[in-house]
C-alpha cells in the first residue's frame, strides 16, 4: 500500500498542470459547499438562538383567554411554575409577558412590545454573556429596571429611542390593553438604551416583571406564559413539553358567587355551561329551561330563584368578588329557567360559559376558593356540558399547526382559557424546513458543478491510462496485480480530491472570516434579522464539513472507477506492445 501511495503521489506530481487544473475545480466546488452549508447553519443558529428562544423558549407554556391572544393569565395558578421547575432536565422556568403597545415619545409614536424582565432569575456565566452580547447597553443598565424610586423604569433599543425622540431619563407614555381588556396608559422613565444585535430586538420595551404584572392588573399568584430553559434542548424539549401537557390537565371550573335578584341576594356556586349548538340542544332537552339555552343566560337552582323572587326572563346580577385592582367583578344574566341540582350540588348556578369564564378571568383568586365539590357532584349529570378551568390544547408539531391553533383561538373554538405547550423546534419547524431546503438547493448546485468537474476527471483519467499503457504493462510484468493497478488510479484520484477538498475548505474558512467582518448597513430591511449587529454569521460544523469533504472524495473516486477498472483490465503483453 505504501508503494502504491508513493506511486500515486509521484504520478500527481508528474502531471502538475493537469492536477492543478482539476484540483482547482474540485477545491472551488468544496469551498462553495462548505461556505453555503456554514451560512445556512449560521442563519439557523441566529434565528433559533437570537430570535426563537426569546419568542418560544426551549419549551413554552402559552396561555390565552377567550379569543384574546394577549390576555395571558391563568388566575391564581402560579404554583405550576414551581411544579414545572422540578421536572427533569429543566434548568430554569421563567415567567414571560409580551404585550403589544403603542409607545409615545417626545417626537413621535410607534408600535412596540412590552416585555417583562425577571431580574431575580439566576443566569449562568455563559447565559449572562449571551444576554450581554444580545443587548449591549449604550447607556444605563438592566439592573436599573428595579430602581424603587421610579414608577416604571424602562429600557429601549437605540433606534427606537432616536425615532421616538427620547433619551436617558426622559418619560414616554405607553398605551396598551391590560389583562382584563381595558385600555390603559402608563408613563415610563427611560433608564437604559441598548444597541440591538438584530432588527428583531428593536421592538421590545423592557420593564421589570413585577411592574408589568401590576400594569396588566395581575398579581403575584397569576400565571403568565412560561419559558423553560432546558439541558440539551434538542433532545429534551419535546419530551418535556409532553410531560407538561400531562401535568397541566385541568378540572371542571367552579366559581363562588353572590346572586342578586328582586328580593335580596344569596350566596351560591357557579359552573359554566357550554352554549355551542350541540350543547344548547342537549341543555334544552335535559334541563328544559323555560327560555331555551342561549348566551347571556343562567339557570338558577329553584330554591335560590324563589328566594330572590326571580322568574324566567328576569335579570340577575352575579358577583364573584374583587379584581386584583379592588374593583367588584360582576355581570348580569337573564334567567333562562330553574333546575333542581342533584345531591351534593345544591346551590349550583349554571351560567353561560362565556360570561362565566369572563368573570373567572377578572377575579383574583382567594385562599379557600371552592365550589369544586358541587360542580363535581353535578358533573355526573352534566359531564361534557360543563366548562373546564382551562383547555389544554393539542400539541403542535409544525409551524403550520401552531398557525392553525392560533387561528382557532382567535375564532374562539374554546370559550375557556387555553393552555398550549410548544417547543421552539416545533414552533420554528418552518426555519428548520427552510434550512433543509437551502441545504438541498446548495447540494444540488454543487452536484451539478461536480458532474462537470468529474466529467473532466473521467476524461483526464482515460487520457492518463492511454498515455501510461506501456507503464501499466511494465508494472504488470514486474508482478503488480490488476487490482493494484485499479487501486493505484483510484488512489491518485482520491488523493487529488482530498487535497483539493482540504484546500477548498481552507479557502471557505478564510472567506467566512473575511465576510463575517463586513458590516451590512441594512437596518430596517427584514433580512437584517439574519445578521448579528450587521455581520453575516457562519457556523462551520466539524461533522458537516468532514461529511462534505468525504462527499467530494467519494464522488471523485466513484467517477474514477470506470477508467481505473479499464486500466486494470489491460493485458500486460498487449500493454507492452502499445505504441502511441
Amino acid at each position: 500500500m505504501k508503494t502504491l501511495l508513493f506511486f500515486a503521489f509521484r504520478n500527481i506530481l508528474r502531471q502538475k498542470r493537469r492536477a492543478v487544473l482539476l484540483g482547482t475545480a474540485m477545491a472551488l466546488g468544496t469551498c462553495f459547499l462548505v461556505l453555503a452549508g456554514s451560512f445556512v447553519a449560521g442563519i439557523t443558529q441566529t434565528l433559533f438562538e437570537r430570535v426563537m428562544v426569546y419568542v418560544a423558549g426551549h419549551t413554552s407554556v402559552i396561555v390565552g383567554d377567550r379569543g384574546y391572544l394577549y390576555r395571558t393569565a391563568l388566575r391564581g395558578e402560579i404554583s405550576f411554575r414551581d411544579r414545572l421547575a422540578k421536572l427533569p432536565h429543566v434548568k430554569r422556568v421563567q415567567e414571560t409577558m409580551a404585550i403589544m403597545c403603542r409607545m409615545v415619545g417626545e417626537k413621535k409614536g410607534d408600535n412596540g412590545i412590552l416585555i417583562g424582565v425577571d431580574l431575580n432569575q439566576k443566569l449562568s456565566a455563559k447565559e449572562l454573556a449571551a444576554t450581554r452580547d444580545n443587548f449591549p447597553m449604550v447607556s444605563g443598565s438592566f439592573l436599573d429596571l428595579s430602581r424603587p424610586e421610579l414608577d416604571v423604569p424602562a429600557i429601549l433599543a437605540k433606534s427606537k429611542a432616536d425615532y421616538l425622540g427620547v433619551k436617558l431619563g426622559d418619560e414616554l407614555a405607553v398605551r396598551f390593553q391590560d389583562s382584563r381588556g381595558r385600555r390603559q396608559v402608563a408613563h415610563l422613565v427611560l433608564v437604559g438604551i441598548f444597541q440591538p444585535s438584530n432588527s428583531f430586538m428593536e421592538a421590545p420595551l423592557f420593564v421589570s416583571m413585577p411592574r408589568l404584572k401590576a400594569m396588566m392588573d395581575m398579581d403575584s399568584t397569576d400565571l403568565p406564559d412560561l419559558y423553560l430553559t432546558l439541558e440539551d434542548p434538542q433532545k429534551n424539549a419535546i419530551p418535556t413539553a409532553d410531560s407538561i401537557r400531562r401535568i397541566m390537565a385541568s378540572r371542571t371550573a367552579a366559581l363562588p358567587v353572590s346572586v342578586a335578584g328582586k328580593s335580596g341576594s344569596g350566596n351560591a356556586f357557579a359552573a359554566g355551561l357550554k352554549t355551542d349548538s350541540a350543547s344548547r340542544a342537549r341543555v334544552d332537552r335535559e334541563l328544559r329551561p323555560d327560555l331555551g339555552w342561549e348566551t347571556g343566560r343562567a339557570i338558577l337552582p329553584a330554591d335560590l330563584a324563589a328566594k330572590l323572587s326571580v322568574r324566567p326572563g328576569d335579570t340577575v346580577r352575579i358577583s364573584s368578588g374583587l379584581s386584583h385592582a379592588g374593583d367588584p367583578v360582576t355581570d348580569f344574566a337573564e334567567v333562562a329557567g330553574t333546575w333542581n341540582p342533584p345531591p351534593g350540588a345544591q346551590g349550583l348556578v349554571l351560567w353561560d360559559e362565556d360570561a362565566f369564564q369572563g368573570e373567572r378571568s377578572f377575579r383574583s383568586r382567594l385562599p379557600g376558593d371552592s365550589g369544586i365539590p358541587q360542580v363535581q357532584a353535578a358533573s355526573k349529570l352534566l359531564d361534557t356540558l360543563l366548562s373546564p378551568e382551562w383547555t389544554v390544547l393539542p400539541r403542535t408539531p409544525t409551524t403550520d399547526d401552531v398557525r392553525e391553533q392560533v387561528r382557532k383561538i382567535g375564532e374562539r373554538d374554546w370559550k375557556s382559557p387555553v393552555v398550549a405547550v410548544r417547543t421552539m423546534y416545533e414552533t420554528g419547524e418552518m426555519i428548520l424546513k427552510l434550512a433543509s431546503a437551502l441545504n438541498v438547493i446548495t447540494l444540488v448546485a454543487v452536484l451539478v458543478l461536480f458532474v462537470v468537474v468529474l466529467t473532466g476527471v473521467v476524461n483526464t483519467l482515460r487520457m492518463t491510462v492511454r498515455e501510461r499503457t506501456r507503464e501499466i504493462g511494465t508494472l504488470r510484468a514486474l508482478g503488480m496485480q490488476a487490482s493494484q493497478v485499479r487501486v493505484l488510479f483510484l488512489l491518485e484520484t482520491g488523493l487529488l480530491a482530498l487535497l483539493s477538498a482540504l484546500a477548498g475548505t481552507a479557502g471557505a474558512l478564510l472567506l467566512m472570516f473575511g465576510l463575517s467582518r463586513l458590516v451590512f448597513g441594512i437596518e430596517g430591511n427584514p433580512l437584517s434579522i439574519l445578521l448579528v449587529r450587521g455581520h453575516l454569521v457562519f457556523v462551520p460544523g466539524i461533522l458537516s464539513t468532514l461529511g462534505q469533504i468525504l462527499l467530494v472524495v467519494g464522488m471523485a473516486v466513484l467517477a474514477a472507477w470506470g477508467p481505473s477498472a479499464a486500466a486494470a483490465r489491460l493485458s500486460p503483453a498487449v500493454a507492452l506492445r502499445h505504441h502511441e
Binding site: R66, G67, Y68, L69, Y70, R71, M100, R102, V104, K107, K108, G109, A173, R175, Q177, D178, R180, G181, R182, R183, Q184, V185, A186, D217, S323, A325, D327, V329, T330, D331, F332, G358, E359, F362, R407, I409, G410, E411, R412
Partner: protein
C-alpha cells in the same frame, strides 16, 4: 327682595326639575345606539397622524342589529378598495381582495392598523356596562355644562362590569334632546385617553344620526380621526349583503 328670591328659587327649581337622572341619560344614549331596522351609510374617515399627514378612508357600512351582523366594504384609498370586514354573530373576518381570502380577526387584533380592535365591535347595552358615578354624599356626578355654547348635561359614569374598554367615562348630552355632544374616556389611573365630539346630527327615519364626529387621541397628541356619514338609509336590507359571498362579489 322677596320677589327676587322667588325668581331665583323658581329658576333653581325649574333647573332641578328639568335635570334628568343619570340612568335616564344613559338609557337615552343606549336607545340612540340601538337600531331596530337595518342601516346603510357611506362613511368617510379622515385620519390625521402626527408627522404623517392625513389619510382618507372611505367605506360602505351595512348593519343589522337583529343578529349582530355588519359588513364594511372599503372603497378608498385605492390600495384598500375591495377589501372589507364582515361580522356574523361573534365571528369577525377581514377580507383581502388581492388574495381573495377571509382571515379571522381576533378580539385583540388591530383593525387596519388603527386603535380599534376586533373586540371593540362587540356591542353591549350601555346601561349594562356603566352606571352614574356618585360623590361622597351619594349624589350622581351630573351637572350642567356647555359644549360649543350648547347647554348640556355632564354625566360621569363608572363601569359596573369588568368587560369594558374604559373604566370611567364622561358624557355631555344636549339638554334639549339628550343627544350626545361629547364624551371622554379615562384609564383606571384617571388619565384622559380619548375624547369624542359629535358635531352634526341629521334626522333620518324619525331618529337622529351623528353625521359628523371627531375622535381625538389624548395620549398621542395630534392624532385625530374625523368621521363623516353620508347617504344614511334605515330599513330592511337584502339578507345576502351580510354574507361572505356578497362581500367577495362586491369587491370585484
Amino acid at each position: 327682595m322677596k320677589t327676587l328670591i322667588a325668581i331665583f328659587l323658581s329658576l333653581a327649581f325649574s333647573a332641578v326639575a328639568a335635570m334628568p337622572d343619570g340612568h335616564a341619560i344613559l338609557k337615552a344614549l343606549e336607545t340612540d345606539e340601538t337600531l331596530r331596522d337595518d342601516l346603510h351609510a357611506s362613511v368617510s374617515l379622515t385620519e390625521v397622524r402626527t408627522g404623517q399627514g392625513a389619510k382618507i378612508m372611505k367605506c360602505e357600512y351595512y348593519r343589522r342589529d337583529s343578529d349582530k351582523s355588519f359588513v364594511i366594504a372599503m372603497t378608498a384609498p385605492e390600495s384598500d378598495r375591495g377589501n372589507g370586514y364582515i361580522r356574523q354573530g361573534e365571528h369577525f373576518w377581514m377580507y383581502r381582495q388581492n388574495t381573495r381570502t377571509f382571515q379571522h380577526v381576533t378580539r385583540d387584533e388591530s383593525i387596519s392598523g388603527s386603535d380599534a380592535h376586533g373586540g371593540d365591535f362587540e356591542s353591549r347595552p350601555l346601561t349594562e356596562m356603566y352606571a352614574p358615578s356618585k360623590d361622597a354624599q351619594g349624589r350622581e356626578l351630573l351637572r350642567t355644562d356647555t359644549v360649543g355654547g350648547v347647554p348640556c348635561w355632564r354625566l360621569e359614569v363608572r363601569a359596573i362590569v369588568s368587560d369594558v374598554d374604559y373604566p370611567k367615562k364622561t358624557f355631555w348630552v344636549r339638554q334639549s334632546d339628550l343627544l350626545l355632544m361629547k364624551d371622554e374616556s379615562f384609564s383606571t389611573s384617571g388619565t384622559l385617553m380619548h375624547t369624542g365630539y359629535y358635531t352634526k346630527y341629521q334626522l333620518v327615519a324619525g331618529r337622529q344620526f351623528p353625521m359628523r364626529q371627531l375622535q381625538v387621541d389624548e395620549v398621542e397628541k395630534g392624532n385625530r380621526t374625523l368621521v363623516d356619514l353620508d347617504d344614511v338609509k334605515v330599513g330592511k336590507l337584502d339578507a345576502d349583503i351580510f354574507t361572505k359571498a356578497w362581500l367577495e362579489s362586491h369587491s370585484k
